[in-house]
Structures are given as C-alpha cells and as structure tokens.
Subunit: 264 residues, 3 copies
C-alpha cells in the first residue's frame, strides 16, 4: 500500500485536487493519499519548495511526493520523477525539489515522457492531472522510475538560487525564507549557527530595521504583543509574536535580510 502526498497551489475550492485523486485511485486503487498543502501562494515555487522540505522528512522514505506549483506548464519545462534516499518526487523541474536535491546521496532523475504513463489526452494547462498524478500512481503500482523516460543528469536539474546563510567574525547573515499562517517569519539561519554566536540570551537579531535581543527557547517566553526571536520547530531562527502576527506587525517579508550577532 503505497503512500502518495500532494502539494499544489490549486486551492481547495475548485475541485482540481479531487480530480488528481480520482486519476490516482483509478490507476492505483490501494494508494493512500495525504495532502501536504494546496494553499501555496499562486505560482510561488519558493514557498512550495519550503513547505515540501518541511514535510517530506517526516514521511516514510518510500513515500511518493507529488508537487505541482507550475507557472511554466505548457512551456518547455520538463516533468520529472526523482528517486532519492529520502523519498520519491514527481512534478515540474522548476526548483520545487531544491531541498531534497541538496540532501545526502545522488538522486536518480527521469523525464516524464512515456505516453503509456500519462492520461490518453494531455492538456497544455493541467499536467497535475494528465502527467504527474498518473506518474505517481504508476510508481505506486511498482513501475520503475526509469520506465518514464530518459535519465536526466542531476546537475542539470533546476534549483532555487538561494544564498546560503553565512557566518564570519561572530556575525551570521541570512534571509527570511517563509512566513507561515501565524505570521511567524522563518529564516534560513540554523540553530547551530545561532549557538555558535554564544549565549542565546545575548544574541542580537536584526531584521527589517528592528533589533531584538536574545533568542528565546519558546513562545511562552515572550511578552504578549512583543516580537521575539526563537528557534522554530524546523530548527531555524524565526521571528514571532506570542499570540500575534509578527510578519504583519513588524513588517517582515520573504527575502528580508537577517543578521545575528553574538552579544558576548
């Protein structure tokens, strides 16, 4: 009984996701399907990639993850199946799989071109239904990734151009990667980099013209209404407001620079 996850920017309202599930279950009636998110901002590949990397690590390693945030549908961008040590991935080759591609091991990648594993008619606008859902369902039934089409050299796969967070001279430089439903602004600065700056309560965090002192162990440490820096549940430095919306109240946006200094 194979497990398939779905992540899209289709929204929950129009029935597009239900259509993909129908396609999957007609091909692989025993597949189990789990939704990761269908509320990714329209065509926001970076947000889709972030949500996917947060989730896939918690699933069994043979799970098939389908991700469709696909502004280039109908253009020359490739559809791909990736086989990695931490999961299988199906979707457009546009950067959505940046994080699993950066994981340990060399992925095997194949282009999705074999007509036998697509719907009989392929539209120009809904490859989630016509190409990606059928590919995932056939994988779930035991079809090998190599059957979908020619192998792709992993180095040619599209990756997001993220500047990696840097630490030098007691200062860490990073960026806001994602703003969640609660308004928490999550940076790419990992817990270990914060720890390297010295005692957490003396680290100074600067972002969007605001300076915070200390990286707290939990939301409960913050005064209600006051922004605080803490380590997110993903192990990344984030800026939050206890019982409030930090992004809105402080004016934080994806891409904002974040600087952390040891206070020692």
């Amino acid at each position: 009984m194979s497990l398939i996850t779905l992540l899209t920017d289709f929204g929950a309202g129009d029935g597009y996701v239900g259509v993909m599930k129908g396609v999957i279950l007609r091909i692989a009636p025993d597949a189990r399907i789990v939704d990761i998110s269908h509320e990714v901002g329209p065509q926001d590949i970076a947000a889709g990639a972030f949500i996917l990397q947060r989730a896939y690590r918690y699933f069994p390693p043979d799970t098939i993850h389908v991700a469709v945030v696909d502004p280039g549908v109908g253009s020359a961008r490739r559809g791909i199946a990736l086989d990695t040590a931490h999961g299988r991935f199906v979707g457009p080759d546009n950067g959505l799989f940046t994080y699993p591609l950066a994981g340990a091991g060399t992925p095997a990648a194949y282009e999705l071109v074999e007509p036998a594993y697509r719907l009989p008619a392929v539209s120009r606008t809904f490859h989630g239904r016509d190409i990606f859902a059928p590919a995932a369902a056939h994988l779930a039934r035991g079809v090998l990734p190599a059957a979908f089409g020619p192998p792709i050299p992993p180095e040619s796969l599209v990756r997001l151009p993220y500047p990696t967070p840097q630490i030098a001279g007691g200062v860490a430089h990073g960026h806001i990667l994602y703003i969640d439903h609660f308004g928490n602004a999550i940076s790419d600065i990992p817990e270990a980099m914060v720890a390297a700056l010295g005692p957490a309560e003396r680290v100074e965090v600067e972002c969007a013209g605001r300076r915070l002192t200390g990286v707290a162990p939990t939301y409960a440490g913050g005064a209600v209404g006051e922004p605080l820096a803490l380590i997110s549940s993903d192990g990344l430095m984030e800026i939050a407001i206890r019982n409030g919306n930090a992004a809105r109240q402080v004016g934080l946006r994806v891409g904002d620079a974040v600087v952390c200094r040891g206070g020692g």
Copy 2:
C-alpha cells in the same frame, strides 16, 4: 473497498464535514473518502454542479459521489440516490446533478425515505449528516439504491436551466459558467465549437465589453498582465491572465455572455 467523494458548501472550518465522515465510517468502516471541495460558495448550486461534473468523470465508475449544496434543506425538496453508468450520486434533488443526468444512458433515481438508512433522529437543517452520509455509507456496504425508497421518473429530476451554447453563421454564443481560484473564467463553449470557427489564432472572443483575438494553446503564450482566451483543461474556452486574475482584472462574472467569431 468502496470509494465515496464529498462535495459541499460547508467550509473546512466548522467540523461539519468531519461529522459526515464519522457517520460514514461508523456504518462503512472500510469506505475510502475523498474530498472534492467544501468551499463551494454558500448555496451556489450552479458552482457545485460545475465542480462536481469536472471531477466525477475522473473517478472509477462505481464511485459514490455525495454532494450537499442545499438551500432548500428542511423544505419539500427530495433527497435522491442516482445510479448512472458513470457513477452513483447522493444528495438533494435541486440541480446539483444536472451534468451526470445529461450524460449517456438512462439513470435510475430513488427517493431517500427509508428510515432504516437514515440516522435515528433526522434534523431539519443537516441532511448531509442525517440522510446523505448514511445513504452513501449503506450504498458502500452493498445496499441497492432501490432499497432507499420509491423510484423517481428521471424526467422529473431538477436540472439547472442552462442555455446550451449555440453556433450559427460562423458565430458561437455561450456564457461564463464558473470562475476558479486563479480567476480564470470558464465558459460553456467547447473546444470543438471553437475549432469549427476556423484557425484558432484568428478567432475573436468578446465578453464583458472586452475583445480578444486568438485562442491560445497555453498560458505561456500570453503576455504577463494581458487577458487571453485559451482552451481550459476541461476542454472549454476560458479567459485567463498569465500569472494574474482575469475575472477581477477584466471584470468577468458568472452568466456573462461570450461570443466567438471566426476571423477567416
């Protein structure tokens, strides 16, 4: 292991859909349940019918589709079970099943009146829980539709009063049927009717006072920010804006007339 889909206007927040799933799983513990949409506009039967017709065709033909958009709950409107060649349908007799009723073959229809297949107490306001979910679950367990109540003559079933798109003298007339999450405005003019007007790049599309030239093969063909006509993934002519919201930017609404002329 029977498959049951759910489509409602209940929203995802209040737990009403979860209640329906509890009712189903208590009666048919092995049923598989798939959500089509719970974000249909409140009491918008036409939108529910459109989303359902988009989805049901992709499911196995023995799937049980429960649809509840039900402004007349508690009034004299009938609850029905439909048995068709392309799926089984359960819900109010108010037009929600217009599209499967228009499909090939003669459907068998039964009124849901047998108390043994309802919850013991039937409210006046939540038939999704008290009548439709139990009916679907009993169907999933193998109860025959005829056991629910008296047969209904198919011609007496409620259908939406859609004017069918027309083509005459090189001009096709139709309407906007649905506006999706991306703001794409989907008409009832099928791809074949557009093709009959001559070369796609010379077809003129008129809607809401705006004139567009050409029906593009894909979103990628459009300039960012400019509305374009194309064939939707459902095989219908739609008006979209690449990486934008056509309905909002052009001012399109459900029911707007659409006229397509050959440019030859």
Copy 3:
C-alpha cells in the same frame, strides 16, 4: 485499522498538518486519518472544544481524537491521553476536552511523558508533531494509555469555565458559544429547555439588543434577510438568517447573553 481524527488551529496552508500525518503513518502505517478542522481560530481553545464535541460523538467509540490548539506549548501545561467511553483523546490539558470530560463515565487520564512514545527530539513549539501525533499513532498500534506516563486525577484536568444555561420562572438564560462558517450563532440553550418554555412559535428570544419571536423548525421558515431563531443540527438554539450571515448582520459575538421567554 485504527481511526485517528485531527483538529488544530494550524491552517491548511503551511504543511504542519501534513507533517503530523507523516509522523503518524511512519509509526502506524495502517492508521486511517480524518480531518475535523484545521481552521480553528488561532489559539481559540473554546472554539476548538466546541467543534470537537460536535464531531466526536459521530465517530466509532474507539476512535483516537487528536486536538491541538495550544497557546501554552512550551510552558508547564501537560500533554494528556484520555480514555473515555465515547472515544480516546490526545492533546494539551487546557480545556479542549471539556465536553468529553463532562460526558457519562469516569475518564482515565495519563500524562504524556514517556520518551519512547515521542519523537527523538522534542521541540518547544510543535508538540503536535513531536508528542501528540506519536502518542496517537502508538495508541493506534495498541499501546495502552497507561504506558505514556503517570495517571492524572480526572478532577485536576483543565475545563473551560462555561456558565451552564439556566431556566427559572419561565425564562432561560444562556450564551452564544460558537459562530459558524455560515454566520449562524449557536447558543448553549438546548432544545429541551426551549420546549419547556411552551409553544415554540411564541417563545421570545433576546440577544445583542435584538428580539425575535418564535423558534422556527427550519431555515426555510424564515423570510430571506430576516434573522430567525431555530434549533441547530446539534440540538441547540441558534440565530440564523436564511441565505445570509446572522452574526455579521445582527452583530452577534461569542459570549453574548441569550434570553428566551415563554410567550404563553
């Protein structure tokens, strides 16, 4: 095959719920997971408790209900597993389980402290993933609640401080408990209390300065646009507007006092 339900305030967009499902399915691959709601207002324990009580009664009695609306995550509040005659419950001890605790029978309660039934690393901010999802999955696999940690005296469990509705001298006093997606305002006054006031069509309902006469049997009884009192599908007196939003149009809020008088 155990059934697990999920109720949170995480929203559907960020992938947090998908993460919890991954954790559950890695521990208990055969578990079935049903969403009750993930749109509970952020940190609104009372709304979460209301939605949970509405839903759990319709599920099989051995269902495991996970509820995470958890403003105190990372503080000293306890994580608990409850074993009751009408279901098993996992989540924070903060009032979310007020309603099942008020049900028949004496619940058994245990604190979730055993490290073997948590994820290896427990964050300070996402116990849904690190503690509650694993606990539910281990319950689903047959681990006994007592294995999670020390028993908790039921009387020490946190309950919401709801004033119970009262009836005296032909007058019933209650409060608005919940406002749903349609804008219906649901009170805590049960159908039987309304019935005790005399003929339904003569009961006078007062709330937020507005007076309504009669408790209608169904929405269909109301004039479009006019507020009416009726008995909700949960058997509670509610104020609604047919095809409208009563809370917004009348100005009703959770906590508003509701008074019902017999008109006899």
